[in-house]
Amino acid sequence: MSFFITDKCIGCTLCRKLCPVGAVEGNLKEQHRINEKRCVECGVCGRVCKQKAILDQDGKPVLEVPRSEWKKPVVIKEKCSACSMCVWNCTKNALKITEPAYQGDIRVFAELSDAKRCVGCGICASVCPLHAIHMEVGEF
């Protein structure tokens, strides 16, 4: 069971814009709906919904969270192998692999390159095969 949008929805499109996997469908000022095939239950839609119109997989309304309190990825450099699983799975293009420090430098790693783009979905952390990413609230 994926997340669900109730009739409290006013069709503001904010959740549709932020959903990292394009799972929210609907037009402006019309009730939106969530495509179950796509939804990864990250909760981003609920965190931005002022109407509390989004129910989680247990049927409970998801509470709005101010943007400053969204968790964002922190990469543990020592663990990261720069395999790019996180970069490829981030549809918001918020992550990238660092540039080499000098000609021939092969020790690079993933980093949050554009914190403004990050919606805190946590997909990067969930796909990291080395558990080198954890989600934290903080200054980015």
């Binding site: 939804c39 990864v40 192998s81 720069a82 699983m85 000609q103 990291c128 095969p129």
Partner: protein, 628 residues
């Protein structure tokens, strides 16, 4: 246990159906090229024309794809080989495999022919075949820009559209190059296949799998080959070693030593042209080169391209190698067959037989000629058929460097005779990887057996062919198998007595290597990080009680099914051959510098459990539980 879900799309009738692979079939064939070989054998008739409406293209993944295991983005394309008439399997590290899995499928089987240029879209499990007339004619770079960046894509370029027999398929900048996959898609009017989904592939025992992956990644990163050499110099780092052992093809395989090899080496590439290294998704090795061509940051060449567009055509121009590599990629062509065919055309000119406007050492015009080949313009249409076809028209068969019709990769087998045996016996034709890549144990690795010695080479070739077959079938990159060679030997160096002793030991243990297949899988009832960590990963992903022995037998089973397909299509022991230049003319004054297939093949068949005509014996099929 999650069984693989496949899509079957008939492009003529637009009928789309799904089917699950049966558990018994899955346990025996796992996925990738081995499962695809079995499906192709069962689902297509003998004598099928690979470019006809009836032909079949199987695009599939292995259990490892998309799980995050190291170097596990590889997907496979299996079809009837345009170059050899036998089986073809082409492997690619692009994002398509992972995205196909996330969209809910482990493989796609394409049959029929679309009535107009089309694009297949697989979105969250839903399939649609869409009009792609507006995309037809675009190069592989432009056409991929037409789709969302996060989609997994495979596309063909002009070469595939014009049925160049060695046209490849691009996914991002990675290429499924060999055997003509691009032409098969082109013949079906398919310009692109895209996939997108959001569901992570399931892993049977996630906790144990994660622990294994962590150890495996550290193991690869601490290994001198996968942790240092490949990321620093890429596969082109082999140029210096190959040249030092006279295994670098030069002047269309007339020699194995190129005096200007240093100018095109991986080290020179890294010092003068490299922007940075990159990698396929989920790969900690990161061997990909990034270089500048036409002021753009593009993928650099692999060792094969450096060798075949460098030493083999007498050119030490790295910029030109980078440019040719880029042009071949955007046109959608295999650089190995392209390089081999152009070198053959150069030799035809040198012998005064035919003039295609190409000469050894003159490379300025080659990017334009590559484009002409891809559009089959005028006389260049002949080059689009490959060197075997050209030799049948013009003669000079000894100089057409192919096996079964597929051009050889960049290893001169007269100074790496086990590699020669591999080329000759490889199921897809002159391929170093499907051939067992014995060059690694003879001429370009740290652990070297005598490269001219024929003893032990059949046993080692069978071992390596089967191991690599299994690695590939599981969805992993073959470079992860490099770590089978102990790191200590790299640290001691090739001239240390212990390394040399180990090289000799490989030949001494040949009776064991020869007989062990009779006792597989029971002889290796364990898993080890130091042998093939892939087996343990498969166990945790699928829930199958996989051991190293079962893993090796999977490879053997796949190799035998591919062989049976070839045999059905008329390829026999007579086709396990190489051109006379490599088997009859010594490379230098040493008369032993030829590939003595007459000495090695009988032993090879014996170790394989094959009959004299090169087909698997009934006993071998019974042992491997192959029922066709």
């Amino acid at each position: 246990m999650n069984l693989p879900m496949y899509l079957k799309i008939n492009l003529s009738t637009k009928k789309v159906s799904k089917f699950e692979i049966e558990e018994k079939l899955f346990r025996r064939y796992i996925g990738g090229k081995t499962l695809a070989a079995k499906l192709l054998y069962d689902m297509t008739p003998a004598g099928m024309d690979p470019l006809s409406e009836d032909s079949m293209m199987i695009i599939n993944t292995g259990p490892g794809n998309g799980t995050g295991a190291p170097s596990s983005s590889r997907f496979n394309m299996t079809f009837k080989n345009l170059m050899t008439g036998g089986i073809a399997s082409s492997n690619c590290g692009g994002s398509f495999g992972m995205m196909l899995k996330k969209a809910g499928y482990d493989g796609i089987i394409l049959t029929g022919k679309a009535d107009k240029p089309s694009h297949i879209e697989i979105l969250d499990g839903e399939v649609s075949v869409q009009n792609a007339e507006h995309l037809w004619g675009m190069d592989t770079e432009k056409v991929q820009e037409e789709f969302p960046a996060h989609y997994g894509k495979i596309v063909i370029g002009p070469a595939g559209e014009h049925l160049v027999r060695y046209a490849g398929v691009l996914s991002g900048e990675r290429v499924a190059g060999r055997c003509g996959a691009g032409a098969v898609l082109g013949s079906k009017n398919i310009k692109a296949v895209t996939a997108y989904g959001t569901k992570q592939p399931e892993v049977y025992n996630k906790q144990k799998f994660d622990k294994h992956v962590e150890k495996w990644v550290h193991f690869l990163q601490s290994h001198p080959m996968t942790g240092t050499s490949l990321p620093k110099y890429g596969s082109a780092g082999l140029v210096t070693k190959a040249n030092a052992t006279s295994a670098l093809p030069t002047h269309n395989f007339q020699s194995g030593f190129y005096e200007k090899a240093e100018e095109i080496s991986g080290e020179t590439l890294a010092d003068t042209k490299l922007i940075k290294n990159m990698g396929c998704i989920s790969c900690p090795i990161r061997c990909e080169r990034r270089v500048k061509v036409y002021d753009k940051d593009v993928k650099g060449p692999e060792y094969e391209t450096v060798g075949l567009f460098g030493a083999n055509i007498d050119s030490a121009d790295l910029d030109m190698i980078n440019e040719i590599n880029y042009v071949a990629d955007i046109m959608g062509m295999d650089t190995i067959s392209l390089g081999g065919t152009i070198a053959f055309a150069m030799e035809l000119k040198e012998r005064g037989i035919a003039d295609f406007g190409v000469s050894f050492g003159e490379v300025e015009q080659i990017p334009e000629i590559v484009k002409k080949i891809s559009y089959r313009e005028g006389i260049y249409s002949e080059l689009a058929n490959g060197s075997k076809w050209m030799a049948e028209k013009y003669g000079a068969e000894d100089a057409a460097i192919h096996a079964k019709g597929l051009e050889l990769a960049s290893y001169e087998p007269r100074k790496s005779v086990g590699m020669g045996l591999g080329y000759a016996t490889s199921n897809r034709g002159g391929c170093h990887l499907n051939g067992g890549y014995l060059a690694l144990l003879e001429s370009v690795g740290v652990l070297s057996t005598n490269p001219l010695e024929t003893k032990g080479k059949p046993e080692l070739t069978v071992l390596m062919q089967n191991a690599m077959e299994a690695v590939s079938a599981s969805g992993f990159c073959l470079f992860t198998a490099y770590s089978m060679i102990p790191s200590i030997l790299f640290r001691l160096g090739p001239s240390h007595w212990f390394t040399k002793l180990c090289g000799k030991l490989l030949i001494w243990v040949r009776p064991v290597l020869g007989i062990m297949w009779k006792f597989m899988p029971w002889i290796l009832p364990f898993n080890s990080m130091f042998l093939l960590p892939h087996a343990e990963a498969l166990k945790q992903i699928t829930g199958i009680r996989m051991t190293t022995g079962k893993f090796m037998q999977l490879g053997e089973r796949g190799y035998n099914v591919e062989r049976l397909y070839n045999y059905r299509e008329g390829l026999t022991a007579n086709d396990d051959n190489l051109p006379d230049r490599l088997t009859k003319v010594p490379q230098d004054k040493n008369p032993a510098s030829v590939v003595r297939l007459d000495k090695m093949l009988p032993k090879y068949y014996k170790v394989r459990g094959w009959k004299e005509d090169g087909s698997p014996s009934a006993w071998k099929l019974w042992q491997l539980k192959i029922h066709l």
